[in-house]
Symmetry: C2
Subunit: 131 residues, 2 copies
Amino acid sequence: MSTRDFIDDCERLLELAPVTAAPIRHHVFVCTGKSCSAVDSAEVKAAFERELKARGMQVGKEKKGCNPKGSVVLTECGSVGFCAIGAAVLVYPDGVWYAQVRAWDVPEIVEEHLVKGRPVERLALLKIGSD
Amino acid sequence: MSTRDFIDDCERLLELAPVTAAPIRHHVFVCTGKSCSAVDSAEVKAAFERELKARGMQVGKEKKGCNPKGSVVLTECGSVGFCAIGAAVLVYPDGVWYAQVRAWDVPEIVEEHLVKGRPVERLALLKIGSD
């Protein structure tokens, strides 16, 4: 078990995690489980990186081509049960789960969903958190 | 590039991904990046599995001890920038980012946040999607 001390000071915590200062609007997860990887999810993630960095939207360090004040966090994730219909891409907090995503779909997801707020219906299969 | 054919039939897609039939209320991500792993994030994820399976809340196959009609999806994720203050645990669509989570905190997060809908304030550092 870790013995690292618990930090109580909230300001100190925020300093240690500059991501907390970014005006995050969306968190995009690309599944890199075995099945999604077999349909090139790494290419899908790379396409998001290219598209988001080109627009200055990806949160992260400038030396990595990202923007400390970006609006989109991009992360890999494990399998979500879309193994037969990958690649899976999830957009939160919207709760939109996309299926069968290919690298060539990414500019449309970025432009329509992340910029204009209109999920790409032809790929969106599930909506989490809707009543 | 993949050559798998695109499936247009929505019913067929839903059959291929039984997770779509689950009444999902929360998606929990545990960071398994290098820094979070160094503070035992694998133990944190295992604690969520134990706690959620015991309550019949984790979505998944019965043969894996999960519930096809569970309410919580549990997934690993890559680094979110909480490297110095891990382990990071994210709860969506709520958009709550927890920092410094240890395995012993997990029962409280499950009971208070996932069951009762009250985020654990002493660990919650960021809220995504709030205005």
